[in-house]
Symmetry: none
Subunit: 190 residues, 4 copies
Amino acid sequence: MGTVPERLIGAATRLFADKGFDRVAVQEIVDLAGVTKGAMYHYFGSKDDLLHEIYGSLLRVQTERLELIAAGDGAVADRLHAAAVDVVVTSVENFDQAKVYFRSADQLAESQRLAMRLERRKYHERFRSLVEEGQDAGVFRDTVPADLTVHYFFGAVHHLGSWYRESGTLSAEEVGRHYADLLLGSLRDQ
Amino acid sequence: MGTVPERLIGAATRLFADKGFDRVAVQEIVDLAGVTKGAMYHYFGSKDDLLHEIYGSLLRVQTERLELIAAGDGAVADRLHAAAVDVVVTSVENFDQAKVYFRSADQLAESQRLAMRLERRKYHERFRSLVEEGQDAGVFRDTVPADLTVHYFFGAVHHLGSWYRESGTLSAEEVGRHYADLLLGSLRDQ
Amino acid sequence: MGTVPERLIGAATRLFADKGFDRVAVQEIVDLAGVTKGAMYHYFGSKDDLLHEIYGSLLRVQTERLELIAAGDGAVADRLHAAAVDVVVTSVENFDQAKVYFRSADQLAESQRLAMRLERRKYHERFRSLVEEGQDAGVFRDTVPADLTVHYFFGAVHHLGSWYRESGTLSAEEVGRHYADLLLGSLRDQ
Amino acid sequence: MGTVPERLIGAATRLFADKGFDRVAVQEIVDLAGVTKGAMYHYFGSKDDLLHEIYGSLLRVQTERLELIAAGDGAVADRLHAAAVDVVVTSVENFDQAKVYFRSADQLAESQRLAMRLERRKYHERFRSLVEEGQDAGVFRDTVPADLTVHYFFGAVHHLGSWYRESGTLSAEEVGRHYADLLLGSLRDQ
DNA sequence: GATGAATGAGATTTCATTCAT
DNA sequence: CATGAATGAAATCTCATTCAT
């Protein structure tokens, strides 16, 4: 059944993803995890801590993978495409975590928000550097600022939680490829 | 200073946009509006009602404008471009309303959610029909499903609330054009 | 039966006097006052606020009376004697308030502590100035610093809560006169 | 570093003196002592036990010393003076213990309270017997009941915790002498 | 039309203590 | 001897909503 902290994280992830951080009571989390509130506060300092933990784990994984993909030695268009597919696939494969991540950024406690923003920015900038690399190489057009393009793309990714259903006809891989195609398409020089 | 209901809607819009529906107390709203709780419950049945009121108004405006733009008689690519610019511009020009709209869909009461989903879907479908029209005409490529493309684009639009700052260097119009260019770019046949 | 805030103050005074601030639950206070917790938080911002309210009221009364007595035109020894009697008598006549005041100074919230310390110091200093006036006039001996003497006397007064019983044989007036006699005795020049 | 129980008593003494019994969590005590909760409950039955242990030790020492001083063969005024100095000096020299003793009498568990009250009363009575001895001998005036005088003096002593600062200009010995002078002064026959 | 006192349910968090290891 | 995970009861406080006036 996993350790108590694992069960708590699991329960919180599912509930936060479903209802949003503010709509979930600590009591619901511990009930679903099968432990008592005292146990939760033994392992986590607060409800915020739980969110912070969930929030960070997917971002860390994705950052690591982006690092690897971006540092590859293929053409920049291929690397960007692979990175775009990857962020979609890992988001869908960890859909509850991703939904929490997409929805609850603003609910993080002040103190944790800064640290998280830094990590997010790092991810954003690594991604943007790929776009800029392509622009500098003349492979991508530069009529739209790279920064804005990246916001545009991540907006689309964040929105996955609002429409994508795991039970639907499209696999994670397929959505990933479509998203990547749309991104590359909009960057392709005419 | 406006009527009491107007002041209430204004206060609620600003606060919901800033902190999210669940983080705003009714007391804060009435304080900011300069009225009492009794007055609020005189005009609105509940806190949910306030959200509902705000939620719908921007969507109604945008739907109306989309209708007009889509029914124009220019080339489909031009109409889609204009529609894309428009949704961004109107979102930025009513930024607080838009933020509420982007963030708080899931907080609507069950009963209101359905009605809203219908309106949203209508908007989505009108937009999609433009994409499909272009695909049918052979102007846009159809390797990516029109439905997914529209989700992709609206994801980007919804994300505006997370990164766009009215005080920044980009005007609403500029962002709108960039967004539209990215959309059209990704649809352009190679 | 008095207004709700009055009943709350009354209940809190009795309970704080009996068991000490930290040993009293808000629930007990509202039960004794016959209202709900919500009502309490409607009138008082916190449990601390309640203490603050109680704490200040006796001090204000005593400060006012000391002012009057000290400003009288009798001999300094007579005025000091009257002041000493008065602080004992008013403390015993408002015994619950006095006990709260004596016991719970350290439980006041940080923010309120400063304000209260100022008021207390003012009282202390007015009292001390009487002692100094007598020393300057050669009526009281000055081998013991006035400051220390005042601490000594107020220590005795604060201790009333630990031993004096209203049901005992000594009236407030009698205790007051004894205390004043002890004070004056220790100041009398040999 | 001392044994584990010693470290626990030391930590508890400091914390109780600083914040009061009810404001100190067992976790804080064991943290400061550098041990775990299990260890604490190995040596002490409860948090109350810790208080009880601290509470008694200073009283025992002071009782013993009072016994010796009172049983001396000097004049009664000298013995009372010495006793008064001594209680102040030992209180200041064990200031944390004394503060706990002064503040936390009411926090003792019912069962322990009785035992403690007996010891306190014994101390009080021994002290009072000195006063009475002087009154019987005609050295002290008897216009104020001995009992009340002793309460008065111990009130002043208990109050030390509220105003005396070890870093101040007065040494323990000086304060002791001043306090004793005030006591003797108020007893001196005119 | 509007007030604001009052409710009552429920929120998060704390904490002394126990107990299997 | 000692650990530290886990409990469970209780603590303070919040808040949308109602209702007599």
